[in-house]
């Protein structure tokens, strides 16, 4: 099982002192978080993609390319790549380039983006979100798998005799996850292709996660990629820890109360009941996280959100220490002990190369 962190990349004032980091500070903090993730033994770093303030990561492959050069093991991913407003041709090129630079340590998570004005800024319409995700991804797959592509669709200018360069590393495209909170069509899309499905599993009640993962697993089996429990599932999660749970609650409360997205609404305690948020001791985080398995089954990737709402970098790095030292080693052991042998790991570049080779020999 893979463990990691995913970041939204928001620039938010620290509510305890009113200080707002500069964009430069926030960008460098994201790099520091990724390096720390590798240092403490996590497997994955994923960055959001946004094209409006107060978010900084508009150019994920620039950020991930830089991190790739400074890490050895870490898998670099996205949370999410906007398959609706990005040109699929540019996604194919950018991520193939990143894949070469990172020696294959790359996968992507497709998402639609929910900020209305971003669509027209990129020449699209949010009401076409699902059709855009369907058509653009179908093209992206072909660009990575066929050397020369002739293509015509509804949303992008046609292509005749187009070759996306560089070709994917070892002719194996990056593994793709599809992320959605509650659009059945996206779970269906992930299942159809036998791709991974990721539920953000933060800020919302677990029922949405359960419903979407259930649908994805059922349809994964329907489309013949394996049994439902062999489908590739990833989950988010949001945690804040201190050795002592009361200290964690006391320290996190002002960040919670003023957070973008959910701040100035429910109490921290209510939100912990209603959503997977866990604020407490490492042991509490371990127990809660092991519980996710009870409603989604054995899954392959767990990403934590640890760096939003204005938390200072120093605090975030302490969270990563706790994850790496106390939480993830236990979770790795416990999840592995519970998982049946026929449930696969999340695909990596190495495993996909082996699978492609086996397929070549078989045909």
């Amino acid at each position: 099982m893979q463990f990691g962190v995913f970041t939204v990349g928001d620039v938010t004032p620290d509510p305890t002192n009113g200080r707002t980091p500069s964009e430069a500070e926030r960008i460098k903090a994201m790099v520091a978080i990724a390096l720390k993730a590798e240092e403490v033994g996590l497997d994955v770093f994923a960055t959001g993609e946004h094209h409006n303030p107060p978010f900084v990561p508009s150019s994920p492959t620039t950020l991930l390319g830089h991190i790739a050069a400074r890490t050895e093991r870490l898998v670099l991913s996205t949370s999410t790549t906007l398959i609706t407003t990005n040109d699929p041709v540019k996604i194919a090129e950018d991520y193939a380039m990143l894949q070469h630079l990172a020696d294959g340590r790359v996968d992507l998570m497709m998402g639609r983006g929910n900020m209305g004005p971003v669509y027209p800024w990129f020449g699209q319409d949010i009401r076409q979100g699902i059709p855009l995700a369907v058509e653009n991804y179908a093209l992206l797959r072909r660009l990575w798998r066929e050397d020369v592509v002739d293509w015509q669709g509804q949303f992008r200018s046609p292509l005749q005799g187009f070759t996306s360069t560089p070709r994917p590393l070892d002719d194996v495209p990056p593994f793709v996850w599809h992320g959605s909170i509650r659009s059945a069509e996206i779970a269906e899309q992930a299942a159809y292709y036998g791709d991974g499905f990721f539920h953000n599993h933060i800020f919302w009640p677990k029922e949405h996660t359960q419903q979407m993962v259930g649908l994805y697993r059922r349809r994964f089996e329907h489309y013949g990629h394996g049994t439902a429990d062999q489908a590739i599932v990833g989950l988010g999660g949001q945690v804040f820890m201190r050795k002592n749970s009361q200290a964690a609650v006391r320290e996190f409360r002002p960040y919670f109360d003023n957070a973008p997205v959910y701040g100035h609404g429910p109490s921290l305690e209510d939100f912990m009941t209603e959503t997977p948020l866990t604020v407490g001791s490492p042991q509490q985080v371990i127990e809660r996280t092991l519980g996710f398995r009870e409603y989604v089954g054995d899954y392959q990737r767990q990403l934590f959100l640890v760096d939003h709402a204005g938390l200072p970098l120093k605090t975030v790095l302490e969270q990563l220490d706790l994850l790496g030292e106390e939480v993830v080693p236990v979770l790795r052991k416990e999840f592995a002990a519970l998982r049946p042998a026929h449930v696969p790991d999340a695909p990596t570049h190495a495993s996909l190369v082996v699978a492609a080779e086996q397929q070549r020999q078989a045909s």
């Binding site: 699902i130 059709p131 369907v134 058509e135 179908a138 509804q154 059945a184 069509e185 779970a187 269906e188 899309q189 299942a191 159809y192 800020f203 919302w204 009640p205 949405h208 419903q211 979407m212 259930g214 649908l215 349809r219 489309y223 997205v261 959910y262 701040g263 100035h264 609404g265 429910p266 209510d270 939100f271 009941t273 209603e274």
Partner: protein, 205 residues
């Protein structure tokens, strides 16, 4: 005898409130009218005052918490709705509107709804036609022709020109009962039980 569910949504703020009083009269009359048609009504009353914080939380977080979810699901699944609001600043109250704001967009499509309002003066009575009916038209609900308004004098002798409150209550209740009894109780398709096959999505939906 068949069974039909009736959800009563009332946004009165005082306890007891005249909106609740009107809601109770309408409920009683509707239950009786349904019984005459061979339908046993199961009634659930939702006092929005009890969900004031839940509704504010829903605005901020984007989802109903467990308590509010029960009300939202029950109203969405009801065979008929009685919706009553006090008039605030010339319209339905913010609390009333918020409840209907957080419902799924298609939750009330085709659902029969009886509209009612209370206020401190009869001069507000057009709130029924100028504010409430357009709201439910947007939601594609099926509003019954008679909407019921109660000003202070309606709880006594009335204004001497229009039919007594009880007569208007009876007429509106009969109209609602007719629609509820006639409406097949088909639940909307569940996209999670039967997703659109991907081949169809690839063809453009």
């Amino acid at each position: 005898m068949t069974t039909g569910t009736l959800a009563v949504v009332t946004a009165g703020l005082s306890t007891p409130s005249s909106s609740r009083l009107l809601a109770d009269r309408l409920t009683e009359a509707t239950v009786a009218a349904l019984r005459q048609q061979g339908v046993r009504a199961q009634v659930e009353v939702f006092e929005l005052r009890q969900h004031a914080r839940d509704l504010a939380d829903n605005l901020v977080t984007g989802f109903p918490n467990g308590t509010l979810r029960q009300a939202v699901d029950a109203v969405a699944a009801a065979h008929g709705i009685i919706a009553v609001t006090p008039v605030f600043s010339g319209s339905y109250s913010g609390l009333f509107k918020t409840f209907f704001d957080v419902l799924d967009r298609d939750a009330l499509t085709g659902t029969p709804v009886l509209l009612a309002a209370t206020a401190g003066t009869a001069r507000h009575s057009l709130v029924l036609e100028h504010a409430m009916r357009p709201l439910f038209a947007y939601l594609r609900a099926l509003t019954v022709p008679t909407a019921v308004f109660a000003a202070p004098e309606d709880w006594g002798g009335g204004d001497g020109t229009s039919p007594a409150l009880s007569e208007r209550v009876q007429r509106a209740a009969r109209e609602l009962a007719d629609l509820v009894a006639a409406r097949p109780s088909a639940l909307p398709a569940d996209p999670f039980a039967e997703p659109t096959p991907f081949a169809q999505l690839l063809q453009g939906g």
